[in-house]
Amino acid sequence: MTSNHPRWSISYMAFVLHRLSGLALALFLPFHFLVLGLAIEGEAALDAMLVWTENPLVKFAEWGLVVLFGLHLMLGLRVLILEWAPWSGGLRHGWVLAGVALAMLGGFGFLAGVIG
């Protein structure tokens, strides 16, 4: 998808955020799989890494990834609807704002789980 919208419009920001969130998630994937793959060596190997992830900085990064994951989902659904279904009017911008809100809510759910 390319964007013809003027820069800094909500539509353009949605386009850029969708791409950047996807890029961050794509770069994270190999590390995520490598960590889970430690379970092949047994519980202890995976646990050693999980102890490291209790570091607040790592938890903060995980929170960021959860928010980006939710954001990428909502902005991706927006692309699918825009391309495959007639969609006009203010709801298009509303979807972007709702996407940001839902992603933040997901991040809050993650934090509540970590702290709770």
Binding site: P30, L34, G37, A39, L77, V79, G113, G116
Partner: protein
């Protein structure tokens, strides 16, 4: 593969993954409660289970989806040639597929 087929693959993988992403996000929020331990993770995923099937399809879909997205960024933003972008996307796809399936086997005990 033509651009239109790559586009279709990207969108098809997105449609398949949307419900998987929602499921995964909910699972994350439940899993982090009380801290993550290998015992807890493996107790949920080990053995023959729907989790093994679910995450196998999730890995295959993301191994298609993510490299195609990266390919677009490389071509449109980084001005990479199609050949270079295709090469990088293919390497990422194979890497994600291999590491992802290994991770699924690791946490499910190969119970697919």
């Amino acid at each position: 593969m033509t651009e239109s087929r790559l586009y279709a693959l990207q969108r098809l993988s997105a449609v398949l993954m949307a419900p998987m992403v929602i499921t995964h996000l909910i699972t994350i929020m439940i899993a982090v409660r009380g801290g993550l331990t290998a015992e807890e993770i493996l107790a949920r995923t080990q053995g023959f289970s729907l989790w093994a099937v679910f995450y196998t399809f999730f890995v295959i879909a993301v191994a298609i989806h993510a490299p195609l997205g990266l390919r677009k960024i490389l071509i449109e933003w980084m001005k990479a040639s199609t050949r270079i972008a295709n090469g990088i996307a293919l390497i990422l796809s194979l890497g994600v597929l291999a590491l992802g399936l290994r991770a699924v086997i690791a946490v499910t005990g190969g119970g697919v």
